[in-house]
Every structure is written in structure tokens, then in C-alpha cells.
């Protein structure tokens, strides 16, 4: 018990951060203005509040999300591009008491690993997948992603995304909600609405704890580095163009949690 008290004391003395954050790896490695830090703060707080630190297995993808490989005080594995969902599914199936969290970007979840997202949702895999949507591939230098908005300029759409040639941005939660069985939880949150983001992540993890179906939260996130935007423009793109195209809200809610348990 003594060590526990020491841990709590240490947590009280340091700048406010979730207990499940690993202080040794802070400040984190994300660029200034990146949305990952906000999403991961919300995730850390939710893990604290649910008291599941000892049961969490956290997997992160390739892309910027891999920078979170040693971010938390729970066990983690950094996988290959798009393959975080199957790694976490395999662990969850093998040891069902595990709380499996698969964290990825839009390229990993909607392009190279789309088959894993769709099939894990179809099978109702009892894991929680969290996908950061920043409308492009960030770590590789800003290429077009399935989520890139019409007209948006990226390294591989230098004159703006042409929907006629490269398709319209994917509506991820809408797609997952269409294939996931009853008992699944599907939502889209944004780093621009912190309390709501936390609420959705908590619902997604609660659903897994309760043994429900697949839980999926897309998080609208920011990338000023590749958007080439200042703080004001970054916030404007997130809350303006992105929010207009990607509607925030809950898309599929299991009956048990819909009856107002919170």
C-alpha cells in the first residue's frame, strides 16, 4: 500500500495529467498543435476513471500514432501499418479479460487496414478501436488520405482533391455503424469538444467492459504541420470545414448504455 500512496502523492505534485500517463515519456513527441495529445489525454483520463489500467492492452499503428508506443503506464505494442486491429483482436480472443484498445490514424484504419476494420466490426470483435482523422497521411509528409476533403491540397493532390478522379472522403463511423451488429458502439468525436470526446471514449470502453460488441470512435484531429496552418487557421479548419463534412455524434449505441446509464 505504501507504494500506492507514493504514486498518488507523485500524481498530486506534478502538472495535471492522467495517472495512466507515463511521466518519463513527457513531454510527448507530437508536433505542437497536433490533436493526438488531446485524444490521448482524454483516453488516459477515461482509463483512470474506469480503473482498468491493469487490464488494458494498447496497440498503436504506423504513422504518427506510433509515437504513442511508450506514452502510457499500461502495456503497449506498436504494430505495422493498418494491422493494429488484428493484433488487438488476437490478444482479446486469446485472453478475453483484456481491455484491448487499437489506436490508429485514418490511413491505417480506412485505407491499408480497411479490411480489418470492416471485418472486426462485422464479427462484433469485443475491442475498442480509436481512429484519429486529420484528413491526411501526416508522418510520411502529408499525402492524400481516404478522409482528405474535396479540393484539399496535399502532397499527392497538389491541385486539390478531385472527387471525380479520387473519390469523396470516407464516412468512417457511418460505414462501421452500417456493418456492426447490435451491441456495438460507434461515434465520431472531435478534439474541439473535449468533454464530449471523453464521454464517447468512456462509452466505447464501457461497452467493451460490459462484453458488448465492437466499439469504434473516430476522433477529428488536427495537423498544423501538414496543413501548413497557424493556430487560428488550424482551429478554423477543424471546427469549420471538417465539422461540416464529418458530423460529430453517436451513430450506434447499445441498448444497455442508451437508457441513460451515465
Amino acid at each position: 500500500m505504501e507504494e500506492k500512496t507514493a504514486v498518488v502523492q507523485e500524481a498530486m505534485d506534478r502538472p495535471q495529467m492522467p495517472l495512466s500517463w507515463r511521466t518519463e515519456t513527457k513531454p510527448h513527441r507530437f508536433c505542437p498543435g497536433c490533436g493526438h495529445g488531446i485524444a490521448l489525454k482524454a483516453l488516459g483520463e477515461v482509463v483512470d476513471e474506469l480503473g482498468i489500467l491493469d487490464r488494458v492492452l494498447y496497440g498503436c499503428d504506423i504513422g504518427c500514432s506510433l509515437l504513442s508506443w511508450d506514452f502510457f503506464n499500461f502495456d503497449s505494442i506498436q504494430t505495422h501499418h493498418g494491422r493494429t486491429i488484428p493484433v488487438i483482436v488476437g490478444a482479446k480472443r486469446a485472453r478475453p479479460e483484456t481491455i484491448g484498445i487499437a489506436y490508429m490514424g485514418d490511413g491505417g484504419g480506412y485505407a491499408i487496414g480497411a479490411q480489418h476494420l470492416v471485418n472486426a466490426a462485422l464479427r462484433g470483435e469485443k475491442i475498442t478501436a480509436i481512429l484519429a482523422n486529420n484528413t491526411l497521411y501526416a508522418m510520411t509528409g502529408g499525402q492524400m488520405a481516404p478522409t482528405t476533403l474535396p479540393g484539399q491540397k496535399t502532397g499527392t493532390s497538389p491541385y486539390g482533391r478531385e472527387v471525380a478522379k479520387t473519390g469523396a472522403p470516407i464516412q468512417g463511423p457511418e460505414l462501421v455503424a452500417a456493418v456492426a451488429p447490435a451491441g456495438s458502439y460507434v461515434a465520431r468525436a472531435t478534439v474541439g469538444e473535449y468533454q464530449q470526446l471523453k464521454q464517447y471514449l468512456k462509452q466505447a470502453l464501457r461497452n467493451q467492459i460490459a462484453g458488448g460488441g465492437f466499439s469504434f470512435v473516430e476522433v477529428l484531429s488536427t495537423c498544423p504541420t501538414n496543413w501548413r496552418t497557424n493556430a487560428k487557421q488550424t482551429w478554423g479548419f477543424l471546427q469549420g470545414e471538417m465539422a461540416k463534412y464529418f458530423k460529430v455524434g453517436e451513430y450506434l449505441v447499445p441498448e444497455t448504455t442508451a437508457t441513460g446509464e451515465e
Partner: protein, 355 residues
Amino acid sequence: MTGNEVVAWAALAAEADFMYGYPITPQNEIMHYWARLAPHFGRGFLQTEDEMSAGFTMLGGALVGKKTFSATAGPGNVLMQEPISMAEMMRIPGVWVIQQRGGPSTATVIYSQQELRLTTMGGNGEGLRVVYSTASHQELFEYTIKAFNTAWKYRFPTFVLGDGYQAKMREAVTLFRPVEQGWKLVPAEPILRPSGIPALDREPVHLRNTFNIEEELHDRLMAQVADYEQMEPEVVEWEVESSPDTEILIVAHGVVARAAKQTQAQLNRAGLKVGYFRPITVRPFPGTALRDVLMANPHLRLLVVESAYGQLLSMVKAELYGLANPIDTLLKPGVGVTAEEIEVTVRRLMAKEEG
């Protein structure tokens, strides 16, 4: 029973916990038998959306301390190389049973030995794997059990390299419980989520396969190469029949080695001085053992026989660098090789030698 059925029973005997698989001929019945057996023995099975998923779900299960395996072939083996390369880098144990089919591409569902190079050296790395090439159903049973022990003891990806003939053919086999034969099974330990609360009772376990600088990767890999080289003499296996007056040494692996052994026995009875060498582990390759045979007999000719166009041959040549023994070949990519064909080739070579 068929070889595929044998593999399912072997996995059960080896106390495998979970199979993750995806349909591809000629390995399907491994999944069928396992899926049928598993619920009766408290084991798990999941049919995934593709081979990449099968491989990565395997790694997830192994990471939390379960003995996991998969089986695949041909184009499935190609896709499986991605998760296998992660297993290789992160030293995550796993057993893969490969029932080789014709290649490249979809080719045939029947048979070949064309996945030798892919299975031993596939992936974007150094091929730090153990590959057992079996020749009979009894071996399929025993080496599948052994593969689980090797994988969980040394933590290098481990393979049973069979083929479509071994998969589909029926022959007699003696199944047994490993403990009753005095075999010890290596237990699986959790790499992630071991006991204790992370950051309180123990350090959290953080695993990655991405490195920031060249030297960091180099140091990691050289440590793994050192582990691999230390393991080599403990796992390497071969069979040899040769004497100082042997004139031709037939070199073959897998089911072709069975034909080669038959040829050798027949020709020995006929008074011809023919020997036989078979690598059982095709990776690590028993190069020292093969060199020893040739050093004792500098005029020995080699006849490399395989159902591929020179995959085993290139391995043999690499191992024999610096020796002058002549090498002849019987290379039949994608088709079987009979003992009679090998005999005809050996007799022709001997006649040429005398002529």
C-alpha cells in the same frame, strides 16, 4: 489419416491454444480438423479476413501468453510474410505450417517445393527463422510438436514446411502424448500483460519495431543474429548416408528426399556407390555437416534434386563455397519427382563418368 489431419492432432498434442487461419488449398483441412477438435479441448479458432490478419491475430495471442499457430500456402504464404517479419523483429513466438503449392502466383493447388526461399528468407529482414522440412506423416506429427517447443524456447518464427502431397496423402502414423514419450513441452509466457499492475508492481511493457537511428537498429539486429547463431547447433538437423567411396551424393529435402532415399537404397543393393544427404532444417541449413561429407571425399559428385528451379541448389552452392565438387541437378519446378527418375539420372551420370 491425411497429413493435414496429422498436423491438427499434433497441434493439439503440443498444447497449442489458438489457431488463426484463412482458407487456401492445400492446407484447409488443418483448419477443418482443428475447428472441429478445438471446442472439445478448450482451444480456440478464428477464421480471419485474410492471411495478414491471421498472422497478426496470432501475434496478439502469443504476446499475451498463448501458443498460437496458423497454416497457409502459396499466395497466402506471401501475405503471411508481413506478420512473420514483425514476429522476427520483435521475437514473438509462433508456428506456421506451410503446405507448398505450385507457384508463382495462384499457379496450382497441388504441390511444389517452390516456397523454400520464401519460407526461409521471406520478409524484409535476415531470415532469422527455423524451418523444418518434413518427409512423412510421422515427421509432420513430431516436427509440428517440436516446432512449438523451438518457437517458444528461442522466440524465432518457426515453420513446418510440408507440401500438397504430404497434406492430402493418407498414410499410417503413430500419434502419442508428448509427455508419455518423455518429451517436455516448453510453456508459453505472457510478454504483454504479465501478472502485476503496470507502473505499480512492475514496469509497463512497451514494445516497438520502429527505430529512430541506423545504429539503434544495427545493435538490435546484431544481438538477434548472435542469439540465432548460438541457437543454430542446438536446432540444426539432417540425415546422411555416405561412405568414403561414395561416388554420387543425392541432395534433396522434404518429400523429394523420400524418393532420393529410396533411390539410394535401390542403387546400393545394385552395388552402385550412391549416398544421400537431406537437410531436415532447411533454415538453419546443416552446411557444416554437408561440408564434412565432401571434405572426406573430394571427388564426390552432388546431384541436387528438387521440385523447384534451383532454390535448394542455391542454398547448397552457398554452403559449399570454395569446394570443387561437381554439382549435377534434377530440377522439376511444380511437379513431383519419383525414385525411378532419380535412378535414371544417377545411372546416366555414372555412365557418363565411366565413358
